[in-house]
C-alpha cells in the first residue's frame, strides 16, 4: 500500500469500522450504505480526494449474498493516489444514498446504475433511465438478464428463426 494511503485507511477504519482488501496496487475499502456519504465528504474535504474517477457496480449473483457492490473510485491529484470504496447492497430493493451533493459527476453515473442494475439512489434529483429507451423492462447488466434475444442463425434453425422474426410492414 502506498505510504500516503496508510493514514487515510486508518482514519476510515476508526471512524466507520470498515474492512480492507488489497489486490496488487489497488486498495478496496468496504463501507456500509448508510455511511457512504459521510465517508465521501471526509475523503473529499480532509484528505483531498477531489476526483470521483469512476462509479460503477458489480453483480456477484449467485455466488455472493449482498449481490451488488457499488464501487466508487476516488483519486487524489494532489497526492497522486487512488482509493476504491465498495458498498455491498442487497438484491431486492437495493437503495443507497445519493452522492450528488458531494460530487456532481455522480448524477449521471447513478442514473446509469439505476438503468443497468436497478439500484435506486435516495435523494437523486432526476431518477430516470439514461441509456435504454423509455419503457424498457428489466435491467440489462444484471447476471440474470438474458444475454441476447436471438439465437445465432445456422442453416438448420434458419426457418424457425425466420417464422418468429418480427419483420417490418410497409
Amino acid at each position: 500500500m502506498d505510504k500516503l494511503l496508510e493514514p487515510i485507511i486508518k482514519a476510515l477504519q476508526e471512524k466507520f469500522g470498515s474492512t480492507l482488501e488489497e489486490f496488487r496496487a489497488e486498495v478496496h475499502v468496504f463501507v456500509k450504505a448508510e455511511q457512504i456519504v459521510e465517508a465521501l465528504i471526509l475523503l473529499r474535504d480532509e484528505h483531498q480526494f477531489e476526483l470521483l474517477s469512476a462509479m460503477t457496480a458489480s453483480d456477484y449473483w449467485p455466488q455472493q449474498s449482498p449481490r451488488f457492490h457499488v464501487i466508487y473510485q476516488l483519486s487524489s491529484l494532489a497526492k497522486n493516489v487512488t482509493l476504491q470504496l465498495r458498498v455491498p447492497v442487497n438484491g431486492d430493493q437495493p437503495k443507497v444514498p445519493t452522492a450528488t451533493r458531494v460530487y456532481d459527476v455522480a448524477n449521471w453515473r447513478e442514473r446509469e446504475l439505476l438503468d443497468m442494475f436497478g439500484i435506486e439512489f435516495e435523494g437523486h434529483p432526476d431518477p430516470r433511465r439514461i441509456l435504454m429507451p423509455e419503457g424498457t423492462e428489466g435491467h440489462p447488466l444484471r447476471k440474470d438478464f438474458p444475454l441476447g434475444y436471438e439465437e445465432p442463425q445456422f442453416t438448420f434453425n434458419y426457418e424457425d428463426i425466420d417464422l418468429r422474426k418480427p419483420y417490418a410492414k410497409e
Binding site: 441509456l131 429507451p133 440489462p140 444475454l147 441476447g148 434475444y149 422474426k165 418480427p166 419483420y167 417490418a168
Partner: protein
C-alpha cells in the same frame, strides 16, 4: 404513384413506358445520408473520387428524407434509434428502396445483445442486403447495381394499388 394507377395493362405501350420510367428512376437515384457507424466510412469512400458512385447516378447524398429515393442504412441500429429510423423512412416519398449495408444492418452483426436490433428489417422493409464488415466500396456499388436491376424489373401491374 400516379402513372401506375392511371394506366393498367395496355400491352406494348405499357412495356415501353415501364422501361422509360424505370430508366429514369435508376438514372438519378439519390441516397439519403444514413451513416450510423463504421459502415458510414465505407459509404463515404464509395461516394468519393476513387470508387465514384456518381457514375451510377448517385450524384449527391441528400440529408433530407423528403428529397431522396434510396436509404442506405449503414451501421448498427440500436433500440433507441429504431423509432427515429422508422420516422425518417416514413417521411421519404414513394418510390423508395432500402439497402441494408453491412453485417450489423443485415443481421445484427457481431452484436447479439439487449441494445441492438438483429437486422434492420425489424424496423424497415429492406430490398437489398450487402454483407461485409464493413463491405468494401465495390461491394456497396454491387449492392446499388442490384437495386437498379430490381427497379428495372418492376412492372406497373405490381405497383398499381387499385
Amino acid at each position: 404513384m400516379g402513372v401506375e394507377q392511371k394506366l393498367g395493362n395496355m400491352g406494348m405501350v405499357t412495356t415501353s413506358l415501364e422501361t422509360a420510367v424505370n430508366w429514369a428512376r435508376t438514372g438519378a437515384m439519390w441516397p439519403m445520408l444514413f451513416g450510423l457507424a463504421c459502415c458510414a466510412i465505407e459509404m463515404m469512400s464509395a461516394q468519393a473520387s476513387d470508387y465514384d458512385m456518381s457514375r451510377f447516378g448517385m450524384e449527391l447524398m441528400r440529408a433530407s428524407p423528403r428529397q431522396s429515393d434510396l436509404m442506405i442504412v449503414a451501421g448498427r441500429v440500436s433500440k433507441k434509434m429504431g423509432p427515429v429510423l422508422r420516422r425518417l423512412y416514413d417521411q421519404m416519398p414513394e418510390p423508395k428502396w432500402v439497402i441494408a449495408m453491412g453485417d450489423c444492418a443485415s443481421c445484427g452483426g457481431v452484436f447479439n445483445n439487449y441494445a441492438i436490433y438483429q437486422g434492420v428489417d425489424e424496423v424497415v422493409p429492406v430490398d437489398v442486403y450487402v454483407a461485409g464488415c464493413p463491405p468494401r466500396p465495390e461491394a456497396l456499388i454491387h449492392g446499388v447495381l442490384t437495386v437498379y436491376e430490381k427497379v428495372k424489373a418492376e412492372k406497373f401491374k405490381d405497383l398499381a394499388k387499385s
